[in-house]
């Protein structure tokens, strides 16, 4: 395995190996750039993934202490687990369900499209769909997204059959097994979907795209990647000119190490990324790195979410097969007549019995709740996911009263639902129920949001340095050789699952970094 010296100041250091960091690492290595990839978690594989929800959660999830505040229900139900994301090589691409949808043109222009929304810190992206289209195409090819590049769609499972029947009966026109980064046939050295039903637990067949077994081994083959696991970065350092010079991290033995760098790219997901910038505050940057705008940690978005489960008088066995087996897209367009701006997607979801009992309605008890669980085998389910409003006060901050295993202040995640989020959720619940009632549901359940799987916006990109943290390439406005390389860059959340866009931005950013390096601009 390639090893670069701690004193090698010609390397690009990337923090985090998920959709953003893992992709960026490979793209740079393919161009001959030396990369040190620092991943806080351990390296698993399809062979070590576990088809068992709680043990898998312990294996993959980021469970370091975090705190919460705000009126979102997650703060009540899961006060120390604001997000369900991963600490492992491949990051949350081990856990994601695979839905791969491009953002829509108007979603890059939220401020222009929606106008001023009270309490929302809306802003247009500094890039357009046209800017991203060639990179979306590269991402879809790389990830093997179904219904693109002549790849067949996936076969729908029982959960999808119920969704499709209800969608059709209430007049929806756009319901299918969607665009998924899950192989419907063998492709790119990976097998086809075995319909395991454990997409969230790491794909044991390798059919679902994850940087763990695509980008990272491809990068290793170039000889340009030095991947260090169980390396938890605590600080980004800079010189007197305000240029990033390297990072300090704790290795697997808890020893502090200092890696020099020519460029630092942060891809720790939208809670750890701003946390690290805030932890790196210095005399020169007393409010944290790249924070002259004061926007680091702000505009935290997690999508409007909720689920609808329904049971029927006949079996469904919804846990069999792909978790996000199908999608209804009729509600995704912006149509303010519904009482809110933006739109939402309806995607099938299933949980194994252990997680179903934990997440169906946290805190509930009694005969009605028990009866709902009694009908597990006859249950169908869908997840509702839509655009949420960026708010300055929805924010990741350092909670200096609580420290982690390294003695570092833990992140506090504050989130208040915006009235637009609440109106959209009410609409989505009603429509989700209507889909299942049309199929003859005996009972339906409105399930509250899970810990956030989509975390976005805490270091957003903006045209003007006063409005955000980074520019249209993810390069921070304040520090030219410091980049944001994950979903923290998102100016607004759009309605679609974020992974495809994170990968797309990473491919584009790699082109830009390579060009800047060759021009000696950074």
């Amino acid at each position: 395995m390639t090893q670069f010296s701690l004193d090698d100041d010609s390397v690009v250091v990337i923090i985090g190996s998920g959709a953003g960091g893992g992709t960026l690492a490979n793209e740079l290595c393919q161009k001959g750039v030396k990369v040190v990839l620092l991943e806080a978690g351990q390296r698993q594989s399809s062979a070590t993934f576990i088809n068992d929800e709680w043990p898998s959660f312990k294996q993959l999830a980021w469970t370091d202490k975090r705190t919460t505040s705000g009126n979102w229900r997650v703060a009540r139900d899961f006060p120390n687990l604001p997000a369900w994301i991963c600490k492992t090589v491949g990051g949350t691409t081990t856990h994601w369900a695979g839905a791969s949808l491009r953002f829509h043109e108007n979603e890059f222009k939220a401020r222009t499209t929606y106008g001023a929304v009270r309490g929302a810190n809306l802003l247009d992206w500094p890039i357009t769909l046209a800017d991203l289209e060639p990179y979306y195409a590269r991402a879809e090819d790389k990830m093997g997204v179904t219904r693109t590049n002549d790849i067949s769609g996936l076969p729908g499972n029982n959960n999808f059959k119920v969704m499709y029947d209800g969608a059709t009966k209430i007049g929806y026109k756009s319901c299918s097994t969607g665009r998924m980064a899950i192989n419907s046939a063998p492709r790119a050295g990976r097998g086809r979907c075995m319909q395991l039903g454990f997409c969230f637990q790491g794909c044991k067949s390798g059919a679902k795209w994850s940087t763990l077994y695509t980008e990272i081994p491809a990068a290793e083959k170039t000889g340009k990647l030095d991947l260090r696991t169980e390396a938890h970065v605590s600080l980004i350092e800079h010189d007197s000119q305000g240029k990033a010079t390297g990072v300090v991290y704790f290795d697997a033995q808890g020893k502090r190490k200092r890696q020099k760098a020519r460029v630092v790219c942060v891809a720790g997901n939208s809670i750890e990324t701003p946390r690290l910038l805030l932890l790196s505050a210095s005399g020169k940057f007393p409010n944290g790195l790249a924070n002259s705008s004061g926007q680091v940690g702000r505009n935290y978005m997690r999508h409007m979410t909720g689920s609808v489960y329904a049971y029927f008088d006949k079996p469904v066995h919804f846990y069999r097969g792909t978790v996000m087996a199908g999608i209804i897209q009729d509600e995704v367009e912006n149509n303010p007549k519904r009482g809110f701006v933006g739109g939402y997607e309806m995607e099938t979801i299933s949980l194994g019995l252990p997680f179903y009992a934990a997440f169906l309605n946290p805190g509930s008890w009694g005969p009605e709740y028990a009866e709902f669980l009694d009908n597990y085998a006859n249950t169908a389910g869908m997840w509702l996911v839509g655009e949420d409003m960026p708010q300055e006060s929805n924010r990741v901050t350092l909670n200096t009263a609580v420290t982690d295993q390294y003695g570092l202040a833990v992140p506090n995640v504050h989130y208040d639902d915006h009235p637009n989020d609440i109106a959209m959720r009410a609409h989505a619940y009603k429509q989700g129920e209507a889909v299942y009632r049309a199929v003859g549901a005996k009972k339906v359940m409105r399930t509250p949001p899970y810990p956030s799987t989509h975390n976005m916006g805490t270091c957003r990109m903006s045209e003007r340095p006063s409005d955000g943290v980074c520019n249209k390439h993810g390069q921070t406005h304040d520090i030219a050789n410091l980049f944001i390389s994950d979903g923290s860059q998102f100016t607004t959340s759009a309605a679609e699952n974020p992974t495809l866009t994170i990968v797309t931005l990473a491919i584009r950013q790699a082109d830009y970094i390579a060009q800047q390096l060759s021009q000696q601009a950074i």
Binding site: V162, V316, H317, L353, A357, W365, G366
Partner: protein
């Protein structure tokens, strides 16, 4: 008679956990040492009974007395009154609360909580009807002991092979080849979506 015969799943690697091949002499020794015991018999034709190596089961309890063990079980059955779910599954909650009561703090919470339940019930909580117990629990739902048992139920009741069999969840799938040829799309009470929405499996 056997101790709880299915391994609680979260303790799969714990050699001290009672399993199907638990030596019977050790089982007897534990029964003698135990301060309380829960026993029962599974219904032969139930989903769980069909899988079990023996229909009789027993759980020995070390840190709870008999009244406390009975109360925890009755509380679990009040919080999550599942139709036909065998007592052997509810006994797993007692097992985990028994473990929790190994510390002085845990024991203290259990004794205070059981006292509160009995006081509210005006007698032995575990001997009351389900409706009466429901009223008591509704009044005491914020009690830390009730919340402890409720939280424990979420993992103890639903994360074990007996519950999987009872509720109709098939669990681990990879070793069986997943569901691609094992019923992922076997629902026949609705018509199939067109191939444009749901293409066939690629052979």
């Amino acid at each position: 008679m056997i101790p709880i015969f299915f391994r609680p799943r979260q303790a799969a690697n714990d050699p001290s956990t009672s399993g199907q091949d638990f030596p019977s002499d050790i089982g007897r020794r534990n029964v003698i040492k135990a301060s309380a015991m829960l026993t029962g018999v599974l219904a032969a034709q139930s989903a769980v009974g069909l899988l079990a190596p023996s229909l009789a089961w027993a759980l020995d309890v070390s840190n709870l007395d008999q009244g406390q063990a009975d109360t925890v079980q009755a509380l679990a059955k009040t919080l999550f009154p599942h139709k036909g779910l065998p007592d052997a599954v509810y006994a797993l909650v007692v097992k985990d609360i028994d473990g929790f009561a190994a510390t002085a703090d845990g024991r203290g919470l259990v004794s205070a909580g059981v006292r509160n339940l009995n006081a509210k019930a005006g007698g032995d909580f575990s001997k009351k009807s389900l409706a009466a117990r429901h009223q008591v629990v509704a009044a005491l739902i914020d009690d830390p002991f009730v919340q402890k048992v409720r939280g424990t139920c979420i993992t103890s009741l639903y994360d074990n092979d007996m519950a999987f069999a009872h509720f109709g969840y098939q669990g681990e799938a990879f070793s069986k080849g997943g569901y691609v040829f094992r019923g992922f799309n076997d629902l026949t009470w609705l018509s199939n979506p067109p191939a444009s929405a749901s293409p066939p499996v690629i052979a």
